[in-house]
């Protein structure tokens, strides 16, 4: 039987979609919208506060998992959406979106490791 990478991509999509459903609204509120809406003081996003919040390795590991999964979820759904909008160059579309997600993942890992 021919091997397919579909289960991996689909698994990331489903996991990322679930994580996004549970945590993304509150994550957006905590990372910017809350301050914009006046629900949180601007100091909550200050440099020192976030640095101390991210000192624990477990916090950074969980944050990596959450952002990584949601990023790949979005990349996969965008690929499907491009098809729905009549763009039939799937190989090119998949390459572009997965490459962006891959680069984003690498940058995320570099940033979180540097925040140690």
């Amino acid at each position: 039987m021919a091997r397919s990478h579909k289960p991996i991509v689909w698994g990331l999509f489903a996991a990322g979609g679930t994580v996004a459903a549970f945590v993304l609204p509150v994550l957006i509120l905590l990372s910017g919208a809350g301050v914009a809406l006046g629900l949180l003081p601007a100091s909550s996003l200050e440099y020192e506060n976030l640095r101390s919040l991210l000192t624990h390795p477990l916090t950074r590991l969980v944050l990596f998992g959450v952002l990584f999964l949601i990023l790949w979820h979005a990349a996969h759904r965008l690929r499907i959406t491009a098809h729905d909008l009549g763009i039939r160059a799937d190989t090119l579309v998949a390459t572009v979106f997965y490459a962006i997600a891959g680069l984003g993942s690498v940058l995320l890992a570099i940033a979180l490791m540097a925040l140690a």
Partner: protein
């Protein structure tokens, strides 16, 4: 000579023809804003790792008019994603308990309870950090 009538359908604008297609497309397009927001958060973390000045420039852009507009639109799309994701969960993963099929509405309600608990917990965790 004339074959069966085939209604012409636009390849790009087909989803505008029915409200439920529009709702479908809004659900799918949520990924554009959500993916973009992930890249923004990753950029922010990268700037944070570079130092206070780099991060301050990022934060100023995030809390500027364009940043706030994008963030609020993404918040609405993220909430819509949650709503649609919970609705399809009982269809994607039917649950059987004690030989009986658990009603979809119960599964959806349980997800919303989990959502509320997680949201409150993360909110308290973040605001308890001496903010």
């Amino acid at each position: 000579m004339s074959g069966p009538y085939i209604r012409p359908v636009s390849r790009t604008g087909w989803w505008l023809t029915q409200p439920r297609y529009v709702r479908y497309m809004m659900r799918e397009i949520s990924s554009l804003f959500i993916g973009g927001y992930m890249l923004i958060m990753i950029t922010g973390l990268y700037r944070l790792s570079q130092g206070p000045q780099e991060y301050a420039a990022f934060l100023a852009a995030l809390l500027g008019p364009a940043g706030v507009a994008y963030t609020l639109v993404t918040f609405v799309f993220a909430a819509y994603h949650t709503y649609t994701w919970f609705i399809v969960t009982p269809k994607a993963m039917p649950l059987v308990f004690a030989g009986k099929r658990v009603p979809g509405s119960v599964i959806v309600a349980a997800h919303w309870v989990g959502f509320a608990v997680i949201s409150v917990a993360l909110w308290l965790l973040m605001t308890a950090q001496g903010v």
